[in-house]
C-alpha cells in the first residue's frame, strides 16, 4: 500500500477536484496528512494505515486492494 495508490483510488471515486480537496481537508484535520503534498517516502506504515482507515470510515476505498 502506498499513499499514491490511496490517492489514485480516492480520485477515481470522486467526481471533481473540488470534491477531492473537500475530502483532503477532512483527511488533514483527522490525520495531519495532506494527500496533495505528502510523498510516499514521508509516511510511516502506521500513518498510512490511519489515512486508509479514515477514508474507509467516510465510505471510500471499500474495494481498495493492497
Amino acid at each position: 500500500m502506498t499513499l499514491r495508490a490511496l490517492k489514485q483510488a480516492l480520485v477515481a471515486e470522486l467526481s471533481s477536484d473540488t470534491a477531492f480537496r473537500f475530502i483532503n481537508t477532512r483527511v488533514i484535520l483527522r490525520t495531519g496528512v495532506d494527500l496533495q503534498r505528502a510523498g510516499d517516502d514521508e509516511l510511516s506504515a502506521e500513518r498510512l494505515s490511519l489515512v486508509r482507515k479514515e477514508l474507509q470510515e467516510m465510505g471510500f476505498l471499500r474495494g481498495f486492494d493492497e
Partner: protein, 371 residues
Amino acid sequence: MSESMRYAHVRETDEASIADALVAGVGPDPAAIVMFYGSERPGASLSRRIAAAYPKAALIGCMGASELSTGQHAAQSVVAAGLPRGLVARAAVALADYGDGLERGIARALRELEQTFGPLTSLDPATHVGLIFLDSNHAIEERTHVVLGNHAPLLPFVGGSSCRFGFDRSEVVTSNGAITHGCALMVLELSRPFHVSRSCHFGPTSTRFIATRVEGRMLHELDGRPAAEVYAEYVGVAHPSELTYLNLMPNPIGLVIDGEAWLRQVWPPIQSNGTIHLGCAIAEGSELFFMKPKTDLVTSMQAELRGVKHLLGQPRGALFFDCVGRRSELEITGALDRYMQLPDFPMIGFNTAGESWIGHMAQTLTAVYFG
C-alpha cells in the same frame, strides 16, 4: 414571491414584544428560520413561540456572544431571519442530544433529517447545505464533524459554536426544543446558487513545527520539545509562565490547508506543565505554522465580499458565523462599526466560540451566502 432573506434585529427585553417584532421582520411564510440570541434573552422560549407561529417552517438557532445583522452588532439582543420559499425548496432540522453519547445523538438526528431528504450521502452538495450550531462546553466539535463526515462526507455543515462571553454557557435550539449538550442541525435544499465561505485574515509565517505529541486539544510537544517553551521563544518571553492570552492571541498557530490558514487558537487556561491548551484539536504529526495577519479585518472583509459578489452577484441574504476573537480585535482597533457596514445585503449572524465548516476552527468567519 420575494426571494430575499428577511430579518429582524430586536433589542427589546420583553418576550412577547421580541416575538412580535421577530414575526413582523421574518415575513409571512418562510421555509426556514434562523435565530440567534443573547444569554439573558429567553431563547428557548422564543424559539418555541416562533416555531408555533410558523408551523410549516424549520427553525434552528443558538445563543451567541453577540448578535449581528446588516450594519448592526449588539449583545443581549435577538436576531432572526426567514429564508423564503423562493430560496429554499426543502428544509429539515434535528437536535442531536448527546446526553446518552455523541454517536447516539447524531444517529437519531440523522434519521430525523433523512425522513425529509432520504440518505444524506445522495444529496448534491451543489444544491444542498447543512447548518450546524454546537455547544462549546463539552469539546464536542471535532468528533461531531468526524461522525457527520463519516455519514455524508461531501455534504458541508457550516456554522459555529454557541457561547456567551465567559464561555461558561451555551444553548442550541430547533423547532423541536433546546439543549445544552449536543448540536442543532439543519439541511437545506436551495433553489438558487449559494456560496459557502471561510475567511481568515491570518497567513503562515516561515516558522513551522511538527506536532510531535498531541492529545486532542492538548498540544504537548512541538518538534520534540515542550510546546510552551517553543511558544515562549516565539513570542519573546523568557519563560512559559509569562505566556498570557494577550501575548498569545496575536501569535496563533495553525494548519495550512489548500494555502489557507486554519487557526488553532489558544484557550484558557492557556498552558500548564509545558502543554499549550488549544481551542481546536490537532492530529499528531501535523505540520503547524505560527501565523500573522496578512491584512486587517476590514480589508479582509472587503476582499471577501468582492469575491462573493463576483460569484453570486448581489447576495439575497447571508448567515455569518464570526469568531468572538475577531470581534475583540475589531473593538481593540476601533474598526467594528466600519466592518459591520460592509455587508450591503440582508445578513444575520452571531459571534462564535469557534467556527464550523468540514471541521472546527478558530478566529475565522464561516458564512453562507444566498444568490
